[in-house]
């Protein structure tokens, strides 16, 4: 090995702790990039293959009842590649071992099973025999949750008839990668299942022979989607079409897409922060090493080494740090990616995974990480090779201080001299202080933008569960009923209080803009299910006009006072022209709200209900559940306590994992920056600090100079980090929010305080590790050594 290379390795050994700190910061950036991009690409490739192989549709529409023959007319629309129709309806299931009734969605399987769209994939067992009326196949997660193996039986109320069904197999479908019950906010495999049934059986149960109510379209490449939607809607309008929806409004696709969008944002926004911080750190550490080795550099030049031979050594050192960071980052990135895929596996059900080999993200992150370290090293290296040998061998000029206006102001404060040393050091090397400030504030920012998710979830929890839906159970009725149905509900076991509501799918439009939504009618005096503004809290409904969620209003270009056209998409299919009375922030759901009295007046019908919210005596819950399992008038129900339990459980798991990772990553930046800055401080000032010890300063008093400067910078960085965190969080909300999910933007004081505190503790820990070295400084050498 060449002597220079041996020197390189020994230099590395000397700065190993600092190099490791930088490598870890770099590794965080690489890890996030590899994990997020790898996961995103794996999911994207899997999604594409799954959609393609199992013919996931492009457009979806439900009707009341459309003749099968109409499918040919739709297929004839230019640009439509394929059309498929089926029968679907909701049912209440009675499963052994479950007290509560379970919701099911019945889907018909056509006789020709390989020809349609949204093909289910048989994972276990087989599809129902076309000749057996009682056979059904279930979606795999639901069957697994209940242990319903092929051959098992359960009961269901199907269109008012109690039937016993036998399981033949387990399926997965590209249409239900993410499955939620209607109205639910989280997947719950125990509470909601998909049931595939022979088409003749479904048609017989629903009285739909020769007809369908659930249609899917696949388009040709480059087809005019809007024109096809318009023509399909026109064709289906007489048959109770509820408006054709694109994939963007298809629940499973929309949730998966939102997640993929988040991953993409994560891979793009976060890694550069780490790379920039790492570049600055390399510059700082190498700059100090080169200052210490100045005489050696002069000597080597005197011995005849060229500038480039010497410069290359320091660039190699930076490269080594970069490669160390890369190796750690790739390793952890792969590990984190596996973990993320496992978490996604709980929410998204794929029959297979097409793993992205991550070569692309490894190459990109490798290039960026090496570039960051080399750019960071460039300035310090240039400074090293620029000096003529003679000048390099003589000691550098001592730092110059002078009394500027700022300095006089500080001097007038009458601080102790050790405090003056701290302030003057910051003013004398503002660039270095700025790097520390930047690093620590980024660290606080990362924590704020991850901890705020708790605030957002808390807000959703409070708005949805504590203020918005105070009922224990919501019943969805099989058909619209007069208001008397609410009074009848008191006859059910354990009902303490019942309130009716009316919900109807609707198309809202304003000028040429339109949007599929729902209209929720609220009865006067309702105290259970209420309209809640994320910011202002409970909303009192005006006597006239509709209240729109901000997202819908923005889409349609509506402001209060405008008029909105509301086309009701279920009977009596009225078209109403209503004023917009207010716009609210609503994080979950895109439905519009109206006072029931105003709605029925506009519809010119007597008040009616299709939902009943109930408060239940807990002791009678089982009796009620048992009764509901067999009640034909009830098409579905939501148990809000169970919904909340599921929400809390799944949030607790996924959010906690994420926050732990973010905290680790965020604090690592602060530690990396503060540790390196403190090491450099100590290296430059060890002589000065030892002098203080000789003069009779205690260890604590001397430590104050080192710890004080770092912690002062960290303290100043905290509010800067809050501002950064606010911006990061805002960006995150924008990146995550989709048509389906709106993340509320709210940051609590607790979040700011926690982020600041965690980073300050991390910084203090880092500087205290460095401080221990002060105890080892040789006092006697301070007497002899020259600055």
């Amino acid at each position: 090995m060449r002597a220079l290379d041996r020197k390189l390795l020994r230099d590395m050994r000397q700065i190993w702790a600092q190099a490791l700190a930088i490598a870890l910061v770099l590794a965080c950036g690489v890890m996030v990039m590899v994990a997020a991009q790898g996961t995103q690409r794996t999911l994207l490739a899997t999604q594409a293959a799954y959609y393609d192989r199992f013919r996931f549709a492009d457009l979806f529409v439900t009707t009341t009842r459309a003749p099968r023959a109409l499918l040919d007319e739709i297929a004839a629309i230019p640009g439509v590649a394929q059309v498929d129709g089926r029968i679907s309806f909701h049912a209440v299931l009675d499963i052994d071992g479950m007290d509560a009734p379970v919701m099911g969605l019945i889907l018909s399987v056509p006789a020709r099973r390989d020809a349609g769209l949204n093909l289910p994939l048989v994972r276990h067992g087989r599809l129902p025999d076309p000749d057996r009326q009682d056979e059904v196949a279930l979606n795999e997660p639901f069957a697994q949750a209940h242990g319903l193996v092929p051959g098992a039986r359960f009961r269901a109320v199907l269109n008012g008839q109690l039937r016993e069904l036998q399981v033949t197999g387990w399926l997965l479908s590209p249409e239900f990668i993410y499955t939620t019950a209607p109205g639910a906010i989280m997947p719950d495999d125990r509470a909601f299942g998909l049931i595939w049934m022979n088409e003749p059986s479904a048609a017989a149960l629903k009285g739909m022979q020769g007809a369908v109510n659930d249609i899917a379209l696949r388009l040709m490449h480059g087809a005019d989607e809007q024109a096809i939607i318009a023509r399909t809607d026109r064709l289906l309008d007489p048959y109770g079409g509820t408006g054709t929806q694109t994939r963007a409004r298809q629940t499973s696709h929309a949730f998966l897409d939102s997640e993929l969008q988040q991953l993409g944002a994560l891979a793009v926004f976060l890694p550069p922060v780490f790379l920039v911080v790492a570049a600055f750190l390399v510059n700082m550490v190498l700059g100090r090493l080169i200052a210490l080795e100045r005489p050696q550099i002069g000597l080597m030049r005197a011995l005849g080494y060229t500038r480039w031979e010497i410069g290359a050594q320091y660039l190699k050192l930076a490269g080594l740090i970069g490669m160390g960071g890369l190796a750690i980052g790739w390793g952890f990135g792969w590990w984190l990616g596996e973990g993320m895929l496992a978490i996604y596996g709980d929410f998204f059900r794929f029959p297979f995974l097409i793993r992205d080999p991550a070569l692309g993200s490894m190459l990109i992150s490798g290039g960026l990480a090496l570039a960051a370290t080399l750019i960071g090293a460039a300035r310090a290296t240039y400074a090293a090779i620029r000096l003529p040998p003679a000048e390099a061998m003589s000691p550098p000029a001592p730092p110059r201080f002078s009394r500027g206006r700022l300095d006089r102001g500080i001097a007038a404060l009458g601080l102790r001299q050790t405090s003056m040393m701290i302030l003057r050091s910051i003013l004398r090397w503002p660039g270095r202080a700025a790097i520390t400030l930047l690093g620590v504030s980024v660290s606080v920012g990362v924590l704020v933008s991850s901890y705020f998710l708790f605030d957002a979830i808390d807000l959703v929890r409070e708005r949805v569960f504590e203020q918005g839906n105070r009922q224990h159970i919501t019943l969805t009725l099989a058909s619209t009923q007069p208001e008397q149905a609410v009074r009848d509900a008191y006859a059910l076991p354990g009902v303490l209080h019942a309130e009716g509501a009316y919900a109807v799918p609707a198309r809202l439009s304003h000028g040429h803009l339109s949007r599929q939504s729902a209209l929720q009618g609220h009865f006067a005096g309702a105290s259970l299910a209420r309209v809640i503004d994320d910011v202002a809290g409970p909303v009192t409904l005006p006597d006239h006009g509709v209240i729109l969620p901000e997202l819908v209003a923005r889409d349609l270009g509506l402001v209060p006072g405008d008029r909105v056209r509301v086309a009701l998409l279920s009977p009596p299919r009225a078209v109403l022209d209503l004023p917009v009375s207010a716009i609210i922030h609503q994080s979950l759901g895109g439905e519009a709200h109206i006072a029931a009295s105003a709605l029925f007046q506009a519809m010119q019908v007597a008040p009616q209900v299709n939902q009943i919210h109930l408060l239940i005596d807990a002791a009678q819950m089982s009796a009620l559940q048992a009764r509901l399992k067999t009640l034909p008038a009830v098409a579905g129900l939501a148990d809000w306590q169970e919904v909340r339990r599921q929400f809390d459980a799944s949030i607790a798991e996924s959010l906690l994992t994420m926050v732990v990772i973010y905290t680790g990553v965020g604090v690592l930046i602060a530690i990396g920056v503060v540790y390196n800055a403190a090491r450099i401080q100590l290296s430059e000032r060890s002589h000065e600090l030892a002098t203080l010890r000789v003069l009779g300063f205690t260890r604590g008093e001397v430590s104050y100079v080192l710890v004080g400067e770092m912690m002062l910078l960290a303290l100043v960085a905290v509010p800067l980090g809050w501002v950064l965190g606010y911006q990061f969080a805002q960006g995150m909300v924008a990146a995550i929010s989709t048509d389906v999910v709106q993340m509320p933007f709210v940051i609590s004081r607790r979040t700011y305080a926690m982020a600041g505190l965690v980073v300050l503790v991390g910084s203090l820990g880092a500087v205290l590790i460095v401080r221990r070295r002060l105890d080892r400084v040789d006092l006697v050498s301070a007497l002899k050594a020259r600055d």
């Binding site: 201080f401 040393m421 000789v694 009779g696």
Partner: protein
């Protein structure tokens, strides 16, 4: 003056002090049984070749190092068994240091460098007063980088005397200076010794400087080989460089 050591109270008493430095299997004996007494108000010059043990002796006197064997008494306090905190306290209250390379804090002005010590000392004089004593009253708001070597060393002396120490330990204080500024620094030290009654122990390579001392101690190979009183100390201006 010549019998000052006999009539004044002793400040330091050393008995059979040895100091061995061990690095691995190699042991270097820096002091081999040094016994001596230093009195209040004495001006002592320590002479000796490199490696004779001068600096080790001064480090032990200043509480920066402990002897391997023997006893060091400062007034009625035994330094031999002092803890790190005791030694810090001792340096803070009783000893002033002047170093060859000044060891000023570059980020503090002359006045602030002195204030560094007065802020923690028990009975300090003001930084301004200390700087007046060394003749730098007019330049106290200058940073070290704005002062000449001689001026910086005088700031260091002002810093050392501002706590009103019993003893001033100076390790080659003129080693980095030319003759003119060296003499100024020696004058400052003699003034302090004369006017404040502070004992001064001065290490030097320049044998002629011994002429300003009350007492000259010569070390060789870790032992005191000469300890004699100078009956006629001369003014620093008469020292040849």
């Amino acid at each position: 003056m010549s019998n000052l050591a006999q009539i004044s109270r002793p400040v330091f008493e050393l008995r059979d002090v040895t100091r061995v430095f061990r690095t691995g299997s190699v042991a270097v004996q820096a002091l081999r049984g040094v016994s001596l007494t230093l009195a209040e108000g004495e001006m002592v010059v320590l002479l000796g070749a490199s490696g004779s043990g001068k600096s080790t002796l001064v480090n032990i006197l200043g509480g920066l190092d402990l002897p391997t064997e023997g006893q060091v008494q400062f007034r009625d306090r035994d330094l031999t068994r002092a803890s790190d905190a005791d030694l810090t306290r001792f340096r803070r209250d009783h000893v002033g240091f002047v170093f060859q390379f000044y060891n000023l804090v570059p980020s503090l002005t002359a006045r602030e460098n002195v204030a560094l010590v007065t802020e923690i000392a028990r009975k300090p004089i003001s930084p301004e007063q200390a700087l007046d004593i060394v003749g730098l009253g007019a330049r106290m708001d200058h940073f070290p980088s704005e002062l000449s070597g001689g001026e910086q060393q005088r700031v260091a002396i002002a810093r050392a005397i501002a706590k009103q120490p019993e003893v001033l330990l100076c390790d080659e204080p003129t080693g980095a200076l030319d003759s003119k500024t060296g003499i100024q620094v020696l004058e400052a030290l003699c003034d302090v010794n004369r006017n404040l009654g502070t004992a001064v122990v001065l290490i030097t390579h320049n044998a002629d400087i011994q002429r300003i001392a009350h007492r000259v101690i010569v070390l060789a190979d870790g032992r005191v080989i000469r300890d004699e009183v100078n009956p006629d100390p001369v003014a620093p201006a008469q020292v040849s460089w």
